[in-house]
């Protein structure tokens, strides 16, 4: 994959981090997935190693957990 993916859950920490990341990184190179709007990619994120949101998965597959908004268990609900 050549894009990064920013996973979040719509929480305040997530939204703040999303704005920061989109200011820093070329927005065309980041897919944004909000689990509050699209739960279908939840398992994909878990498989990639996302433990909490917000998190940025880089093109080489590294997971950057940024601050702490919510655990994936909390997001699963």
């Amino acid at each position: 994959m050549s894009k990064s993916v920013f996973y979040h859950a719509g929480c305040p920490v997530c939204i703040s981090a999303e704005q920061d990341i989109l200011n820093l990184v070329d927005a065309s190179k980041v897919d944004v997935v909000n689990f509050a709007e699209d739960k279908s990619r939840f398992e994909e994120a878990e498989r990639l190693g996302v433990k909490s949101v917000p998190a940025l998965v880089t093109p080489n597959g590294n997971v950057l957990h940024i601050n702490f908004g919510a655990s994936m268990d909390d997001v699963r609900g």
Copy 2:
């Protein structure tokens, strides 16, 4: 300030995150501070709100704690 500052302490988590960030963000827009080499900027980082490393402080002053390498207390030694 118009640049971001990436603070780290030379730990494996830090180095990995540094490489990811420098791949994602225009490297000319990021100052990298390694406390293992330059302890003089430790208090500056604490003042900016850095609680653990690695951390990226954005141009607007937000602190993005990325994964968890070490607490600032651990780095102070």
